[in-house]
C-alpha cells in the first residue's frame, strides 16, 4: 500500500500512529472482555453450574483459542474473543463458588480481584510510561511458564500442596512479567494485532487472579 516507507529509518509517524491504535483497541477490547467474562462468571455462580470437566475445558479453551487466532484479522475474531473469554468466565464460576463458601470467602475474592487490578494497572502503566523494552524477558518467561506448568502437573498428580503454593507464586511472578512483556511488545511494534494482544493480556490477568486467590485461600485457612 504505502511503498515510500524507509525501513531503515527510525520509527515513522505512521508506525507511532499504528502502535497507538493497537494500544487503544487492545485496552478497549480488554475492558469489554473482562466485563463480559465477569458477567458470565456471575451467571455461572448464580445458577450453580457444575464444572465442565477436563475434556470440555480443554476443547473449549483450545478450540476457541485456535478459532480466535485463525480469524484474528477479521471481525469474526472479535466474536471468538468474546466466546473464549465468556467460556473462561463460565469455568471460573464453580471455583469462585467454592471460595465464597468459606467463612471469609467474599473478602478473599475481593482481595484477589483488587490485587490483580493493582498489579495489572501498575505494571501496564510502568511499561507504557517508561517505554522500556522488555523483550529480553521472552526466553525467561517461556522457560519459567514451562517449568511452572510441569511443576503444577506434579503438584496435582502427587498431591503436594506445598508445591502447588510454590507454583501459584511462580505464576503470579510470571504473569506479572508477561504483562510487562506484552505491553512493551505492543509499544515497540512487536504485536500489531489487538485481538491476540487482548487474548494474551486477558489470560495473564485470569491466571494472576486465580493464582492470587489460591495463595490467599491457602494462607487464610485455619488448617
Amino acid at each position: 500500500m504505502n511503498t515510500s516507507i524507509n525501513h531503515g529509518a527510525p520509527r515513522s509517524q505512521t508506525a507511532t500512529l499504528a502502535t497507538n491504535s493497537v494500544i487503544r483497541n487492545t485496552y478497549t477490547l480488554l475492558a469489554m472482555t473482562l466485563v463480559f467474562s465477569a458477567v458470565v462468571a456471575g451467571i455461572s455462580m448464580s445458577l450453580n453450574l457444575p464444572h465442565p470437566g477436563l475434556l470440555l475445558t480443554l476443547g473449549g479453551y483450545f478450540g476457541l483459542l485456535f478459532a480466535t487466532s485463525k480469524f484474528r484479522n477479521s471481525s469474526l475474531g472479535l466474536g471468538f474473543v468474546f466466546a473464549l473469554t465468556g467460556f473462561m468466565g463460565y469455568t471460573l464460576g464453580p471455583m469462585l463458588n467454592s471460595y465464597l463458601s468459606l467463612p471469609n470467602g467474599g473478602e478473599l475474592v475481593m482481595t484477589a480481584m483488587g490485587g490483580t487490578g493493582v498489579i495489572f494497572l501498575g505494571l501496564s502503566g510502568y511499561a507504557l510510561v517508561s517505554r522500556k523494552d522488555f523483550s529480553f524477558m521472552g526466553g525467561f518467561l517461556m522457560a519459567g511458564i514451562l517449568l511452572a506448568f510441569v511443576a503444577g502437573l506434579a503438584a496435582i498428580f502427587f498431591e503436594l500442596s506445598a508445591l502447588s503454593l510454590v507454583v501459584s507464586s511462580m505464576f503470579v511472578l510470571l504473569m506479572s512479567g508477561l504483562i510487562l512483556y506484552e505491553t512493551s511488545n505492543i509499544i515497540h511494534g512487536g504485536e500489531t494485532n489487538y485481538i491476540m494482544a487482548t487474548v494474551t493480556l486477558f489470560v495473564s490477568i485470569f491466571n494472576l487472579f486465580t493464582s492470587l486467590l489460591h495463595l490467599l485461600g491457602a494462607f487464610n485457612s485455619d488448617d
Partner: protein
C-alpha cells in the same frame, strides 16, 4: 528467503514502517498456548481450596 520474512503479518509490519525480528514476534503464540494450558491446570487442579 530473508530471516525477517514471515508468512502472516509481515505485510502489516512493513506497512507500519518497521521490521520486528522474527523471535520478538513469534515468541508470543507459544507463550499464549502455554499460559492457556496453565489456566486449565489452575482451574482444574491448583486453584481449589
Amino acid at each position: 528467503m530473508s530471516k525477517y520474512q514471515q508468512s502472516n503479518s509481515s505485510a502489516q509490519v512493513k506497512q507500519a514502517g518497521h521490521i520486528t525480528p522474527r523471535n520478538k514476534r513469534n515468541m508470543l503464540y507459544p507463550v499464549t498456548t502455554l499460559i492457556m494450558l496453565s489456566s486449565i491446570l489452575i482451574i482444574l487442579g491448583l486453584g481449589w481450596v
